[in-house]
Symmetry: C2
Subunit: 341 residues, 2 copies
């Protein structure tokens, strides 16, 4: 039987609300920062019904648990914890990138300062992990809980390593696709992998099945990130909500840029690299897009997405999951990489 996505989203949101809640009055302002970040409150603490995250990661986790034939509620604390971990990374990323807005609202550090922002991110991470450990009160064997916690911790370390690479690559116009993929594996795919793996493990999947699920989640994350890179340059701004120029102006080392730079280097040209080294201006957009098109960056990205999707499909078939429960996970995954651009 399929499950209603709306009820999953409601369960996730309600579980998150219970976790991110001040245990006593003196800590209320700390929790108010977290609740603000999660989109539940405004900066003064009043409830808002604004734009929140899409909660894709916890959905993947619950649907993976359901897909291997178990009740999705068995994975709920893990789903919630992984969404909170994702949000911890967003709070710290905003500080690291000096990002001033997210979902059209000021980021945590712009409102409460860098010191409180760093600590708020730490608190979000600590809350996530404490909640993950409540799995042991749900009837899961202790060994299974330990295996899930260990897998999640491994992924967290990969997130930090990926984030290091990302920051170290800033302004480095010579990085290659191998380094890009390493970065994406750490920054994006480690977490999507952890989500589906946690769901499968908590659904009682045998190790072989969980391993294939890991491949599925990893390739999904890679395809998702490259799709995001494409959308960041050629996306329909009325759909993506951000101007097509944003990623170019921010000098993000996305796959199209990395490819076009390598293509130029091979030809001894340096039009794009010269443009990137200049301070951002409106006039740069047209010539940048021209180099990107000439280099075939769009097609290269599309091929990379296709290849990741192919590996996703292979992993999927190796799992031999049947029925409408499994189909729901597969469909959500495909929808994330088949977005319009």
């Amino acid at each position: 039987m399929t499950v209603e996505i709306a009820s999953l989203l409601q369960a996730i949101e309600s579980d998150m609300q219970q976790v991110v809640c001040a245990p006593e009055l003196s800590y209320a302002p700390l929790y108010a920062m977290l609740r603000y970040h999660l989109g539940w409150q405004d900066a003064q603490g009043a409830a808002v019904a604004g734009r929140r995250g899409k909660r894709l990661r916890p959905l993947l986790c619950l649907l993976a648990c359901h897909a291997v034939g178990s009740n999705w509620q068995q994975a709920l604390p893990a789903a919630t914890a992984l969404e909170l971990i994702h949000n911890f990374t967003l709070i710290h990323d905003d500080i690291e990138d000096r990002g001033e807005t997210r979902h059209d609202r000021p980021t945590v550090w712009t409102l409460w300062g860098v010191p409180q922002g760093v600590n708020a991110g730490d608190a979000m991470w600590a809350l996530a992990r404490r909640h993950l450990l409540t799995l042991s009160q749900m009837g899961h064997p202790a060994e299974r809980v330990l295996a899930v916690v260990s897998m999640v911790e491994e992924s967290c370390l990969e997130l930090c390593q990926g984030q290091y690479l990302d920051m170290a690559s800033e302004g480095d116009y010579t990085i290659d696709q191998e380094r890009y993929l390493r970065m994406v594996r750490g920054k994006t795919a480690a977490l999507t992998r952890a989500c589906v793996m946690a769901g499968a493990m908590l659904g009682g999947a045998a190790p072989g099945l969980a391993e294939q699920m890991a491949v599925f989640g990893l390739e999904l994350g890679i395809a998702f990130q490259i799709t995001d890179d494409l959308l960041g340059i050629w996306g329909d701004s009325s759909v993506t909500g951000k101007s097509t120029a944003t990623d170019l102006e921010a000098r993000k080392m996305t796959l199209p840029i990395i490819h076009a730079l390598a293509w130029e280097r091979e030809r001894g040209q340096q039009e794009l690299v010269t443009l990137l080294r200049q301070p951002p201006s409106d006039g740069q957009l047209v010539p940048m897009l021209a180099v990107l098109e000439r280099s075939g960056a769009r097609e290269v990205c599309q091929r990379a997405i296709d290849a990741a999707q192919e590996r996703m499909r292979d992993a999927w078939h190796n799992m031999h999951l049947q029925g409408p429960e499994a189909a729901q996970l597969y469909e959500l995954a495909c929808s994330l990489v088949g977005r319009q651009f």
Copy 2:
């Protein structure tokens, strides 16, 4: 049988060295930041034999394991993890307090910037927790490992909550002793408690014994912090290595200051609060110290330390631990709160 403290310190340092080690070349600069912070390398990555942390927390953990009658090696991954957690907090604290030096060397963020500094702290924390989970490969029952991990995570959340209170108290000259103690419990005592508790739990202590150990560690942390507050104002700078004026100049809300401010408020006086509101200058030191002395701040702190030590002693006697193994833990604990000033 007693254990040699030097061999414990060596085991801790060697375990830490193995944990904080780049898994591959591309992440080497990230790990170099962590190894620099831990005092093993200079900023260029060359080995140094400089001043390191005293590794008191992991020592407490190993001695607690030994004190309850077990082999200290059973607790080594936890001891190492707790020292790394302590160091994660130092990396982030330095960013939050804009601390530019630690152990006479520039702090991580001053060398590599705030963005990499935040992420380096995150990576240290992730490494600590991944290492803690290796306890399950040492023959400990899964339930015991889960109990230790849950206890450590709870303490980590308390650290973040305590750090929030500490930052929020900056410049607030009305905070009372209750809030101060809440701050100290979170910032300092949660971790000393976790150290001795982890040692006892991994040494196979029964729940009742572990609970008394928790009280022992908590009161030790409180006594330790108030001792630190006293040393920060009246300490012998040739012993503490910092000028007596440092804490006053930094406007730290330590117990002597909090007491003296309350004492002044009761009398409708405001000499100290006026001095604190002015920018730091050499001429302030003498009148500040005079108010502190008049208010009896030294005696109040000494009484608070005595009271915490009394509760430590009670917890100790309730544990009925005998023999030279137990005596080693008790002696280390006492030496930490009986420092010269």
